[in-house]
Symmetry: C2
Subunit: 197 residues, 2 copies
């Protein structure tokens, strides 16, 4: 049941997961699903939990603390990109913490190895993960779903103001999120984690 739901989400996206759709897929009535898992929220939580178990906690790489912390942050990012559908589902239903908790813990452990524990560790972890979340929001957003005049590119084209034309051209073009991720997240990591000289 949860297996079928997970497969449905991965094949047709988060918006395909409705009680009626899943019921049809399982050849039962919607009420049967309610009897088994009890409501859409619980179903989503179960799907996300299942996916979290599937996520192999790949080993953190790097020779220095700052490299290892950065790599742990990168795991959150890459894992989300590799599982767009379930990640989006988790985001939309407030279950992202369930999905990423093991990866978050790996990050905290690296921060502790870097000497950051207690409030300092929590602060560093939250600052880094919030930054990562911003990039995930940008990367998982379905651009094709919004009409041009509502996109950033469309607005720059229509309403550049006093901005340099070369900058406007760059703003109308596509962003290279993976590159921006590296520099922005690294900047935040470096602010909290200083390698011993």
């Amino acid at each position: 049941m949860v297996t079928n739901a997970l497969a449905l989400v991965e094949k047709e996206g988060p918006q395909a997961l409705t009680m009626r759709r899943l019921a049809t897929e399982l050849d039962v009535t919607t009420t049967t699903i309610y009897w088994h898992v009890g409501g859409r929220d619980e179903l989503v939580t179960e799907i996300v939990r299942r996916q979290a178990d599937r996520l192999a906690a790949r080993p953190v790489q790097g020779d220095s603390p700052r490299q290892r912390v950065m790599d742990a942050a990168r795991h959150v990012w890459e894992s989300a990109l590799e599982n767009r559908a379930v990640t989006s589902l988790a985001y939309q239903n407030g279950a992202i913490a369930v999905l990423e908790h093991p990866l978050h813990r790996a990050l905290v452990i690296e921060l502790e190895a870097a000497g950051l524990r207690g409030q300092s560790g929590a602060d560093a972890m939250r600052a880094i993960l919030t930054t990562v979340a911003g990039f995930l929001l940008a990367a998982l957003r379905d651009e094709s779903a919004t009409p041009v005049e509502r996109t950033s590119a469309g607005l720059w084209a229509a309403d550049p103001g006093e901005v340099d034309p070369t900058t406007v051209t760059a703003l109308i073009g596509a962003a290279d999120l993976p590159v921006l991720f590296e520099s922005a997240v690294q900047a935040v990591v470096d602010h909290y984690v200083r390698d011993a000289a």
Copy 2:
């Protein structure tokens, strides 16, 4: 009509904005709304556009480029916090660019004043705004809507793993987002904007 919709969103939140609800508020049928603005997406865009016009572009403060860029970024953050309901509505409907475009332009202008134009300007702008977006996502999320066992705090309490108890305690407590915003966003700003020595 758009005025009433905006008032409804501000008073009762984004989820209160349904065609039927707004129709009742206006003492008309839903079809009347369709005749006037043409669909929910267009309605939301109009609401957000109206709100964007209302947002006074307060002057950017600071003596150095990095201070002024930081202040422009802070305006995006503060403006969103002061208008939670409309900002959430814009986020959920892919119209956030419409709402924030004037503030984004102010940021780009400060970046140009700092010597960043063309691709460098666009990169810096995107990295900074994506980081800000992460904090907005965290700040606008309705914590009370998700049950504890799905929150980060609940997961740390239930499943701390090999993490230091003092760190776990800090992770269960509330985050001070405004403080974290300052340090994380400043770190990203500093990475792109270097003051002349």
